[in-house]
Amino acid sequence: MMLQYFQMLESRIDAKIRKTPDKPNARRKFALEIAKLGIRLYSGEHRVAWCGVVAPFDMLSAMNVTSCFVEFVGAMLAATGNVGMFLEESEHAGFGADTCGYHRAVIGAALKGLMPVPDVMIATTCPCTGGLAAMENLARMFNKELFVLDVPSSDTPESVQYLANQYKDMIRFIGSRTGESLDEGKLRKAIEKSNRARELMVEVYRLAENVPSPSNGRSLANFGIVMALFLGTDAGIQIAQAYRDEFEEMIRNGQSGVPEEKVRLLWLQNRIQFKNPLIKMLEQEYQASIVIDELNDITWEAIDTADPFTGIAKRTITMPLNGEINRRLNHVRHLSKAYKIDGAINPCHWGCRQGTGARGLIQAGLKELGIPVVNLEVDCVDTRNFAEGQLRTRLEAFMEMLQTNPSGLRD
């Protein structure tokens, strides 16, 4: 089912890109690479690693391992509109409906035999306990050993060294299970590509800060988190370049992502992964643009190719979702100022303890900047609990409030 889905997606997007080959087609190129990744994961022709969210995908790519975090599958199943049966499968097997929908969906898919048995499994303790538990459950189902990257919360030399050493152990683990060793030259090239993609992404985000923004509610949805999967590859560079070119062209031509942009919004944490009318409503009825997602940012320095393990460890440890809430809050405040935000939308993904759990603290932290936050009670994956009417009403009230009380960050 998933292989056919990705194959159809690939041919459909490819055909669209061919119709306008002179345009940057940024979003389409991004979606095309996602489809290709899906095909590689499900074709049975590649070495596959199911991973946690913050696994070092560029390092895995350098080892010829097609890797992906399992939450990606949950999001894809939601996007297909068929996620309900997978959620029910996991719930029937005893997995609580109060746990994260991404994880329930992927466990349901595994129970239905729709997850390819991986060559290796690399779990990460960051960003969440639920993700780690899901990986342990999947490893048990697949009868596979699990390699866990224990990501410390504090940014200290000892923590960085601890994680850097774990990457070396991970390489040995993968090598012993797949026969693949890590070629230093390949790793260096992968890191160079990561750094190049990083530079381009910094430019993309800088361009998106423009008032009015070339970005809109759809162009950079899921961008930052999924781009991590393409780090270390040419595809990652090409996608970022396409976005850079597209945004530059739009600004040059005086085009904005949302025509006559009036309200600038920050989207906190994950997007709602299934089709829904909320973004369209914001854009069409209120000229409100989601100009920045919390997860769309570069928070790491370029990695030293002579010492990639240390650089990748620092990249992981310093990500805003890791550790104490102040790190995340400072990041969100920084984004709010840089993008001149009027308000923030927090989809409180049911089942997410680490993200949603802190919503009161995030709300209070943004309030200090004069940024109002609307909390939406949703499950970003589970279509069954989507209360469209209630959410629409909340957003409408929020937009009316923003129109009468702008944040003042644009001044």
């Binding site: 097997a93 005893g94 997995f95 609580g96 109060d98 746990t99 994260c100 994880h103 779990a123 303790t125 969440c128 306990t129 639920g130 780690l132 538990a133 899901a134 342990e136 459950n137 490893a139 048990r140 596979k144 050993e145 699990l146 390699f147 866990v148 224990d150 410390p152 919360s153 504090s154 000892e158 923590s159 601890y162 050493n165 774990q166 152990d169 550790g323 104490e324 809430i325 102040n326 409180c348 049911w350 089942g351 997410c352 303890r353 680490q354 949603t356 759990g357 802190a358 919503r359 009161g360 603290l361 209070a364």
Partner: protein, 352 residues
Amino acid sequence: MSQERIRWNGHVCSYTPTALIHAAGFTPHRVLPIGDSPDRAGQLLHDNLCPHVKRLLDRAMDDDLPALDGMVFMNCCDSMRRLSDAWRAARPDHRVALIDLPVSNEESAVSFFAGQLTRLSETLSGWSGQSFNQADVSASVYKFNEMAELLDKVSQRVRGGTLEGGSFRLQDLFNRAAIEPVDLTVKLLKTVEEEPELRVTADSGVPVYLFGNVLPDPEAFALFQSSGVHVAGDSVCTGLRAFCHIGGEDSEGVFVRLARGLLDQPRCARTFEPFRPGKIAEEVLTEARRCHAKGVIAYTLKFCDPYTSRLPAIRKVLREAGLPLLVLEGDCTMRSMGQQRTRIEAFVEMLR
């Protein structure tokens, strides 16, 4: 004669290095999710966090605590990490430390955790204004080991049905050991240990193995007893598991010893062996058989990812072994436990 003021330092997790807190000149005080503080945690945390965390925050916001010099949190799960964040906001008068807790007991993890404990010792020393060395920590480990051994002996007597008061009283002793000065508890436990043995009666209840997370209210154990359950063995965060004996020698350094001892203790579901995923299921079965249980009760708090996510595998293993399992989902109040009485009684009837 003036009595020296007790300097309390709070903690909330069974992986906390209480001996280290003690060595710094503090009396470790585990904040338990008990009492009747009003529900206010929702101002800072989402309702989908576990009731343990919310009850603790309720107590902090209600100032239902002794005068604490500081709080030590273990970064053991998402909810606990969020609690430490919320605590800082709710109680700016408390000093707060968050300590990373590895998920496994591999050598590299032990070494890293020992470093975390070394760093904590420096923090605690700053808080107390009292310098201490490895010998002091070692002396504290000795004291806490003595308490752990006594609690183990008392537990054995309760499990064997030879101590007055049964598991209700045992839980009360666990709670006192968690919140009172170690010397007082040791003294108390020694007197309990010397109490004459009761004669075991035939009607002491059906032997059941209990596992799960936080169940500190002695009334819950009274409910088990009155429903015909004899808790023959247990592994819960507020029971014997919170008082592990730290083995090993100081020759490898007391912080390494302490780190290894804590990571080697009977595990909470958040800690596991990556190369044997889901091993907790086999461990529950082994422990249930060791105490000759006729059934197993899992007590988990709502929204506790580490436990609820592992229950399906545990259920499967127990079913294959022919051991019945009763899952009780709680919220740290007796209100929810009272509602479970009928289910517990039916479970016992089935096991008889």
